[in-house]
Symmetry: C2
Subunit: 224 residues, 2 copies
DNA sequence: ACCTGAACACCGTTCAAGT
DNA sequence: ACCTGAACACCGTTCAAGT
């Protein structure tokens, strides 16, 4: 995995996308820490300072990575009609795209999301909540509530995994959690010890949709 | 701020708490990156390797820091009676304690929360949701929904701030956001451009409580 | 048990220089 | 415009040694 992969064809200058590709490959393989400037350069077969031809600093790379993944989300998940189904589809799409690159997930919660793709995603949320009957202010508040929930759930899901690299299948992760929760002392934490079977599924799709539907349900009482 | 502060009194051995105190001081002053092993050691007046007498590695320090701050939350915010008021008070308390140390916030979303204080907090949530009339499974799902919301909102609030150190007053941050949103192109993002006044308040207390109340409202339909 | 000296294998970033 | 050589000021962690 440390082998340098150059793009096919004759020798040519790099691009910003080459840098982002390399960063994503490294993060997928060895976790978030692996995407260092020096290792990215190594992947591309150049010296570390060559990377600064394409990005001002490491923060700029991380910001561009966020925009790229949000772009994938916006490209998929078209609006099909009903606001509720659209929002569920969008939320599921965001989770699928981000969880595919666990090492990139912390970037979404460690910097302001104000790029074009972030704006486009926000615009889509506002549009669907308008269709849901929310007024301007309630729509704006609701859109942020959804983003907080989606990003928070994805971050906690990824953080639950101790190992670097791509996540194991969901069923496997839930089984591992169920085993770990077996050690909870029932005398000190009775309700927790009695609910470990449900808690094991917290990082799963069912819980994700359950929580999302609580939010969408609550919007019903806000129609103007 | 780089001046070494030793504890008062005669020379004595350090403690785990001394290390955590130093780490928090550094993070509060210069952001999350400042809490390096080497700078912590400098604060304490010892060489870097002395820190390894008290913690196995840097991850252990971060884990202990999370537990310490959760302990502060658990120590405050007692139950006063109504489940709704209790949960709101608890959520507000968590936000106050974590936002006071912005540099520590990312730690809550970058590692599994399974220490004693995390368990105690979870137990309290399960207890209050039981009082709300939720059955065992719905209570467990609801407790996680609240944690996802609370941690996600706090993380995004802190991430919105570009500068290291303690956060400016809320009104100041909202005003800065309102100014920044003025640049949104209304032709490409019409709904966004029309809602910037509300979006500026996304990182404020009103939005935080608004979102929390949507969650609590949705629990009403789940009483068994 | 608690701490130091010295080292190893890394970081991000910058400056000057080359083509 | 695009890349390299060399350096600066950092990291986390470990090993051996001292008291």
């Amino acid at each position: 995995m440390t082998e340098a992969r150059r793009r096919p064809g004759p020798k040519r200058a790099l691009t910003q996308d080459d840098v982002l590709d390399a960063a994503l490959r490294l993060m997928d393989a060895d976790g978030p820490v692996a995407a260092s400037i020096r290792r990215i350069a190594g992947e591309l077969g150049v010296t570390p300072n060559a990377v600064y031809t394409y990005f001002a600093d490491k923060a700029a790379i991380e910001q561009a990575l966020v925009e790229r993944l949000l772009g994938e989300v916006n490209a998929a998940a078209p609006a099909t009609g009903g606001w509720r189904a659209d929002l569920e589809l969008l939320a599921v799409e965001i989770r699928a795209r981000l969880v595919a690159h666990p090492g990139a997930v912390p970037l979404f919660l460690s910097g302001a999301m104000n790029g074009p793709q972030a704006l486009l995603l926000g615009e889509r949320l506002l549009d669907r909540l308008s269709a849901a009957g929310l007024d301007r202010a309630a729509g704006a508040r609701g859109a942020y509530l959804i983003m907080v929930y989606v990003l928070g759930a994805i971050a906690l899901e990824v953080a639950d995994q101790p190992h670097a690299g791509v996540l194991p299948p969901e069923a496997e992760r839930i089984a591992a959690r169920a085993a770990a929760w077996g050690e909870v002392p029932a005398d000190r934490f009775p309700r927790t010890a009695a609910a470990t079977d449900v808690m094991a599924t917290w990082i799963g799709t069912d819980q994700y949709l359950w929580g999302l539907r609580r939010l969408l349900d609550s919007f019903a009482g806000l129609r103007s």
